[in-house]
């Protein structure tokens, strides 16, 4: 009888397997078509509103530094809505928290698309998170605009026609920083400190085009491990005189503190993701109390060179900074006014510009076409690369040095470059003021 019962189970299992073996190989391309929605559709659009969605880390270990972007964006959308909206439509902005957990990202994005019926996803944040929804969004024909990450994978118009990058990618930034170091610190020893994933890889690829022979040591960090002393010690013992960093803000602050701890004072050059001086100062400000004046944030940041592509808080005379500050003071006065806030507002402003340029007759296909064919001039000091062939966002950056006394100096003017081995050259073009973009025209 045992054999009989066992036999029954085997029989069931084999039958089940035979049924399931009607399927073809799991990794092979599907034989039928995929469920593409016609791109002329416009879910989430009514006569007087358009619904946009985004996924960002609002809680969890990665939230520090990023949880304010959506607050800033919402303030910008509220400002636009209060002034009549875009083409007569108000923007409804739904942000979902994915806690930087890719599983959650997939869930919330599907929720936004299927349940909330958003028109487009804007500013999805993070490489490990957003890369999980690329296939889905493109299959479903959902515009995936202005991804908040410098990875290269957003620029694949053939494979992902609905996806467009936003911030300057790590490779281009690496090239621009590399040129700066080569021009200004030729012959000096260079150490690299970077996040141990595509941020670090792509940045190094760019840097290596210019300063490969100057690099004496390459130190990665793991975001889960906040003790960077071993890496700093290694940089010090290799004799690095310049340290190029591709780090998120908390790790940049840790780097500055730890190097002060071991009395290591190289020239720091940081990519834009970790260079916001207000954020860094906020993270560093309490250490002076115990440890003397030389550890005040101003001292720790003195000489720090960071990359950027948007106007920064320090430029109080810049028309865009004044504009953003007005919105900040009116809608979110209790938040600290930092470059991160400017990032959120500038990105939201760009979204508004895209919708405006697409016109009153709004469909998903139209938005994508608009982005590929329209030149958007906005707050940044470098242009976008959007075209039929390229879905890269900003294509350049400038470098600014913090003078340690509250002022800063631009040490390399805005430069643009490509993703291959093309040269780094000055960004041309003119910049417009907020009132010249026509965003709020009726």
């Amino acid at each position: 009888m045992r054999i009989h019962r066992g036999a029954r189970i085997w029989a069931v299992a084999v039958a089940g397997a035979l049924v399931l073996s009607a399927c073809s190989g799991a990794g092979e391309a599907p034989s039928g078509g995929s469920g593409n929605q016609p791109a002329d559709s416009a879910p989430g659009v009514t006569d007087n509103s358009v619904v946009l969605g985004s996924h960002q880390p609002l809680t969890g270990p990665a939230a520090p530094g990023y949880s304010k972007i959506s607050v800033a964006a919402q303030a910008m959308y509220t400002y636009i809505n209060d002034n009549g909206g875009v083409n007569g439509r108000k923007i409804e902005y739904k942000v979902e928290d994915d806690a930087y957990n890719p599983t959650k990202t997939v869930e919330v994005v599907k929720k936004l698309v299927l349940e909330e019926q958003v028109f487009a996803i804007v500013g999805g944040l993070g490489t490990p998170t957003h890369s999980k929804v690329l296939d889905y969004l493109n299959q479903e024909g959902v515009p995936d605009l202005l991804v908040s990450s410098g990875a290269l994978m957003w620029d694949q118009p053939q494979k992902y026609p609905m996806t467009f990058g936003y911030q300057v990618d790590y490779l281009r930034e690496g090239k621009i920083m590399g040129k700066y170091v080569k021009d200004n610190f030729a012959g000096k020893k260079v150490g690299l400190f970077f996040q141990g994933d595509d941020v670090g890889r792509d940045t190094q690829a760019g840097l290596d085009q210019f300063i490969k022979d100057q690099v004496v040591t390459r130190q990665p960090y793991d975001p889960a491990n906040t003790d960077v002393t071993p890496q700093m010690l290694a940089l010090k013992s290799a004799g690095a005189e310049v340290v190029v960093c591709a780090c998120i803000p908390s790790f940049m602050a840790l780097t500055l503190l730890t190097s002060a701890k071991i009395a290591f004072k190289p020239q720091f050059v940081s990519s834009s993701i970790g260079a916001d001086p207000a954020t860094l100062t906020a993270l560093l400000q309490d250490f002076a109390k115990r440890s003397g004046a030389t550890v005040a944030p101003e001292q720790l940041l003195a000489g720090f060179v960071g990359a950027g592509y948007l106007p920064r808080v320090a430029l109080t005379d810049d028309a865009w900074v004044k504009f953003f500050k007005e919105i900040h003071d009116k809608y979110i006065p209790t938040e600290a006014f930092t470059d991160t806030l400017i990032f959120g507002m500038a990105q939201a402003y760009t979204v508004g510009q895209i919708l405006k340029a697409a016109g009153r007759d709004l469909t998903r296909r139209k938005v994508v076409e608009t982005l590929e064919t329209t030149e958007l001039k906005g707050p940044a000091l470098v242009p976008f690369a959007y075209s039929k062939e390229s879905h890269s966002g900003y294509i350049g950056a400038y470098l600014v040095r913090n003078n340690g006394n509250g002022t800063s100096t631009v040490v390399q003017q805005p430069m643009v470059t490509d993703r291959e081995s093309g040269e780094v050259k000055a960004a041309g073009g003119d910049r417009v003021n907020p009132d010249q973009t026509g965003l709020l025209d009726k």
């Binding site: 949880s67 491990n225 003790d227 071993p230 993270l283 109390k289 003397g292």
Partner: protein, 282 residues
């Protein structure tokens, strides 16, 4: 070898923190046979209170004292209200403390936001073995000695040990068992808050103590969950060992190394290096 010395000193300082937090876990475990998952949350909230006081007054030590007190209060309240009803349900006690951990972390995020805030060190943090690191090690050493002396050499400690070891017999000898258990939780949580104050710098945010907690629990398990001295040794060993792994093999291997050390120790001594196996009653 300069790097070796620096890594060792770095490891000693982090190991001190693991020891302190591990010690708080062990005190509670010895008293009530519960692994207090909410311990890092008590330490977190205490540190946040210290942060607010520092911001308001510009000082440091007042906040430090308040943190220790707050930790003790949270421990006492938790034992009385949440743990006592579920003491005999081992898994239930774990889940209750786990729920408390989640709630406290969320409340911290609500009150102080999820953004990181700058949090000062007690002393100057610069130097290969900075004044702050010396303070960390000294504070932990003093606390550990105080706790050991308390348990082994004072009448109060004797009563606490009796209450933990055999509650009924202790009760019959006139020990107020409930009070002893509550006191144990209070002392343990104050020690945990000390560990938090030492571990949190340079930034405070709701998940800052998660990693430290895992290493502290590992240290407690390595040393033996019913042996405070073993835990302290375990903490220092773990801190130094992980520092070498980070420096010589790579920072991404630290958590794996922690797992490997744990597995090796438990394979040889399933009750930790210094733990005692309980006799099983048949």
């Amino acid at each position: 070898m300069d790097q070796f010395l620096n890594l060792t000193l770095n490891g000693v300082a982090s190991g001190a923190v693991y020891s302190a937090l591990g010690l708080s876990l062990v005190i509670i475990y010895r008293a009530t046979r519960v692994v207090n998952f909410a311990q890092p949350a008590f330490a977190l909230v205490s540190a946040y209170l210290a942060y607010s006081i520092n911001q308001a007054t510009g000082g440091y030590w007042l906040g430090f004292a308040v943190a220790l007190l707050a930790g003790a209060v949270m421990g006492v309240l938790t034992e009385r209200l949440l743990v006592r009803p579920v003491r005999h349900n081992e898994l239930g006690a774990i889940i209750v403390t786990l729920g408390l951990l989640i709630v406290l972390q969320a409340v911290a995020g609500m009150v102080w936001s999820n953004e990181p805030h700058s949090f000062p060190y007690a002393f100057d943090f610069r130097g290969d073995f900075s004044p702050n690191s010396m303070f960390v090690v000294a504070a932990v050493a003093v606390t550990a000695i105080a706790v050991l002396v308390l348990f082994k050499a004072t009448p109060l400690g004797l009563r606490m040990r009796a209450a933990a070891f055999h509650a009924d017999a202790a009760r019959m000898s006139g020990v107020r068992v409930g009070l002893m258990l509550t006191l144990g939780w209070g002392i343990a949580s104050a020690v945990g808050s000390l560990a938090g104050m030492l571990a949190v710098p340079p930034f405070i945010f709701p998940n800052v103590l998660d990693g430290v907690f895992v290493y502290a629990l590992t240290a407690a398990v390595i040393g033996g969950l019913d042996n405070p001295l073993g835990t302290i040794i375990g903490g220092f060993v773990l801190g130094v060992g992980l520092s070498y792994v980070s420096g010589y093999l790579g920072p991404e291997l630290v958590t794996l190394a922690s797992l490997a050390i744990l597995v090796i120790v438990l394979a040889v001594r399933p009750n930790g290096l210094f733990g005692k196996a309980l006799a099983r009653s048949v």
